[in-house]
Symmetry: C2
Subunit: 328 residues, 2 copies
C-alpha cells in the first residue's frame, strides 16, 4: 500500500481531463477512478491504468478514496453534485458563479458539517488564486484599490455570440486587458474603470463564402451587452488559420492593488497568470487543494471551506520543515 | 472599551516607524505603545496619542496588548527579542536571515509552545509574500521551475561597499532585475540562471573633489563578491542630485514560475511588488499578520508559525461572509 493520497475525479470534461494529467505529474497523489454520468466505456480515456466508472457506483469507493475532485459545470452540475458527494467524501470543486457563492457555500456547509467531511469550494484561479490575492492585497494595503483584469482569454460565451451572426461560418473571441488601463493602474492614480474600459475584445471570424464582411463587422461591433460598449476588433481569417492558431483555450489575467503608505509612497502589488490552457491550469489548482482537503479532514476541520481558509503549506507536497528551510 | 485588536511595537527603526503609520491606516487595530531600548523621550515620535515606553517595562503590558510587532534587526536583535517576547505575548516578526530560519524557528517554537503564545516568524515580502508564492506555484505546477528576482531596489550592503571606495564622497547602489533574464523565464524555456545573470547593479556616486572617476569606476566594477560577477553601471552625480533623486528606499521584485501541463502547454505564474518604500510595505505586512496571530492564539494554535501556516482569511479585517460574498 502506498502512502499516496487517493483521489477520484467526477466528470470527464475539460477540467476532468486536466485533473487526470495533473495527478500523473505529482509523486504524492494517486488516481483511483474517473466517475461519469455517461457510459464509462465511451469516455475513451487513453491514460494507462485509469479506470472509468459510472457515477452511481461512486458510493462504493468511500474507503478507497480520500478526496473527490468535482469537475462538473458550475451552472447545473455542481449545485447538485457538490452537496451529494460532500455527504460521502472530502471534495474540491471549482464552482465559479460568483453571485451565487454564499448560497452554494451554505448548502455545501450543511452537508459537510453533518457528515464530517471537508469540502473546499470555488477553487481554481478566479475564483481561487485571484481571490486570495484580492484579499491579501486589501489586508496589507488598507489605503488602496483592487483591480482585476481578465485575459488574454478565449471567452466561450462571446465566441458563441459571434458564431450566431449572419454570414459567420466559424469564429472565436478573445478578451484582452487594455494596456492603457493597466498602465494607469500601475501609475498609482487609482482610476475608476468600468469592465469595458479595462478590456478590449478581439474576434477572429471565418466568413461564409460571399458573405458581406462589413455587415458582419458592423453587426458584431454593435451587439448590445456583448460588444457595443467595448473597443472591439474584428479580423477575418480562413478556416485553416482558425484551426492552426486558435485551437487552444488560453486565459489568464491580473490582480493589481495600488496603495499608499506613510506620507505619499506608492506600493504596487501584482499577481498575474498567462495560461496556454485554462482548464489544465484550473485542474492543477484543484489537484493541489486536494492535499489541503485531505489534511484538513484529518485534523477534523470539517464543513465547507474556501481558499481563504486554507493555509498555503497545506497545498504543498513538501513537509513544513522543507518549506521553512528551502522556500521561506 | 473598543473591540480593536491591541498592538505593541518593539523597536523604533524604519520598520517600527512604518508599523505605527500602518496601524493608523486600519479601522480594526489599535496601537497601545512603542517599546524601545533607547530613552523613550529621545524617539521624537510625532504621532498624536502614541506612547513611547522603555522596553524593560513591556512585561507590565501583557494584559493590555494582544500582539507585539517585533521590528528589530535580524542580525542581532530578533534572535534575542523574539524568544524573549514570545514568552509573554503573541508576536509577529520579520526575521530575514534565510539560512538561519530553521534554527530561529526551533528556538521560538520552544518558548511559544511552552507559554501558549502564537509567534509568526519571518513575515514581510521576502521572506513573506514571495515565500508564499514560491510554494503555491510549486504545488500547483509540479512540472516547472521557480525564479525569484529582486529589485529595482536600494541595497544597503552594496551602498555601504561603494561608499568605502577611495575617492567616493557618497553613493547608493540599486539592484535591478535583468529584463533579458525575465523575458527568457517568461518565454517558458526554464533557463539556468545564476543570481548575477538575473540582476544588474547600478551605482550613483558623488565623487570627492578632484577624485579620479575612472579609478573609482574600475575599483567598483572589479570588487569581488559585490560587483565583479555582475553587469555593473557606475554613474557620477552631484550631492544635490543624490538627495533629490535617491532619498527613498524603493524595493520589490518578482516571483515567477513557468511550468508545463498536459502535452506541452506553458503556464506562467507571476507575483510582483514595486515598492516606493520597502520598510513601510514590510511593516504593513507585519500589521496584517497581527490579525492572524491574534485569531490563531484565540483558537489555541500556539507555537512558532510561518506564513505557510496562516490561512489568507486570517490576515483580513473582513469577516468570512464578506470575503465569500465580495472577494471570492
Ligand atoms: N475557478 C476557476 O478558475 C475556473 C476556471 C475554469 C473553469 N471553471 C469551472 O469549471 C467548470 C467545468 O469546466 P469544464 O470546461 O470542465 O466543463 P465541461 O468540459 O463542459 O465539463 C462539464 C461536465 O460536462 C460533462 N461532459 C463533458 N464533455 C462531455 C461530452 N462530450 N458529452 C457529454 N457530457 C460531457 C462531464 O460530466 P460527465 O463526465 O459526468 O458526463 C463534465 O464533468 C465550469 O463550469 C466552470 O464553472 C472554474
Ligand atoms: N521580511 C522582509 O521582507 C523584510 C524586509 C525588510 C526588512 N526586514 C527585516 O527588518 C529588520 C529591521 O529593519 P529596519 O530597517 O527597521 O532596521 P533599523 O531601522 O536598523 O531598526 C532596527 C532597530 O535598531 C534600533 N534603531 C533604529 N534606529 C536607531 C537609531 N537612530 N539609533 C539607535 N538605534 C536605532 C531600533 O531599536 P530600538 O528602538 O530598541 O533602539 C530598531 O528596532 C531588518 O533587519 C530586516 O532583517 C525584513
Amino acid at each position: 500500500m502506498s502512502n499516496k493520497i487517493k483521489l477520484g475525479v467526477v466528470g470527464y470534461g475539460n477540467l476532468g481531463q486536466g485533473a487526470v494529467k495533473a495527478i500523473k505529474a505529482t509523486d504524492d497523489l494517486e488516481l483511483v477512478a474517473v466517475f461519469t454520468r455517461r457510459d464509462p466505456e465511451t469516455l475513451g480515456i487513453d491514460e494507462p491504468g485509469v479506470q472509468a466508472v459510472h457515477i452511481d457506483e461512486a458510493s462504493d469507493y468511500q474507503k478507497a478514496i480520500d478526496v473527490m475532485l468535482l469537475c462538473g459545470g458550475s451552472a447545473t452540475d455542481l449545485p447538485e453534485q457538490t452537496p451529494h458527494f460532500a455527504s460521502m467524501f472530502n471534495t474540491v470543486d471549482s464552482y465559479d458563479t460568483h453571485a451565487k457563492i454564499p448560497e452554494f457555500y451554505q448548502s455545501v456547509n450543511e452537508v459537510a458539517a453533518n457528515h464530517h467531511t471537508t469540502a473546499i469550494i470555488s477553487v481554481g484561479w478566479d475564483p481561487g488564486l485571484f481571490s486570495i490575492n484580492r484579499v491579501m492585497a486589501d489586508a496589507i494595503l488598507s489605503n488602496g484599490e483592487n483591480y482585476s483584469f481578465w485575459g488574454k482569454g478565449l471567452s466561450q460565451g462571446h465566441s458563441d455570440a459571434v458564431r450566431r451572426v449572419n454570414g459567420v461560418k466559424n469564429g472565436v473571441q478573445y478578451t484582452i486587458p487594455s494596456e492603457e488601463a493597466i498602465e494607469q493602474v500601475r501609475s498609482g492614480v487609482n482610476p475608476e474603470l468600468s469592465t469595458s474600459e479595462k478590456h478590449r475584445r478581439v474576434c477572429y471570424i471565418v466568413p461564409q463564402e460571399d458573405a458581406d464582411k462589413s455587415a458582419i463587422e458592423h453587426e458584431i461591433k454593435t451587439m448590445p451587452n456583448y460588444f457595443a460598449d467595448y473597443d472591439t476588433e474584428v479580423n477575418f481569417i480562413s478556416e485553416e488559420e482558425l484551426e492552426r492558431d486558435h485551437a487552444k483555450a488560453p486565459h489568464g489575467g491580473f490582480v493589481i492593488r495600488s496603495g499608499k503608505t506613510g506620507k505619499d509612497n506608492n506600493q504596487l502589488y501584482e499577481f498575474s497568470l498567462t495560461l496556454d490552457s485554462n482548464p489544465e491550469f484550473t485542474s492543477s489548482v484543484l489537484v493541489a487543494y486536494a492535499r489541503a482537503a485531505h489534511r484538513m479532514s484529518q485534523e477534523k476541520q470539517f464543513g465547507a471551506k474556501t481558499v481563504y481558509d486554507v493555509a498555503p503549506g497545506y497545498i504543498s507536497p513538501r513537509s513544513a520543515e522543507e518549506l521553512r528551510k528551502d522556500y521561506l
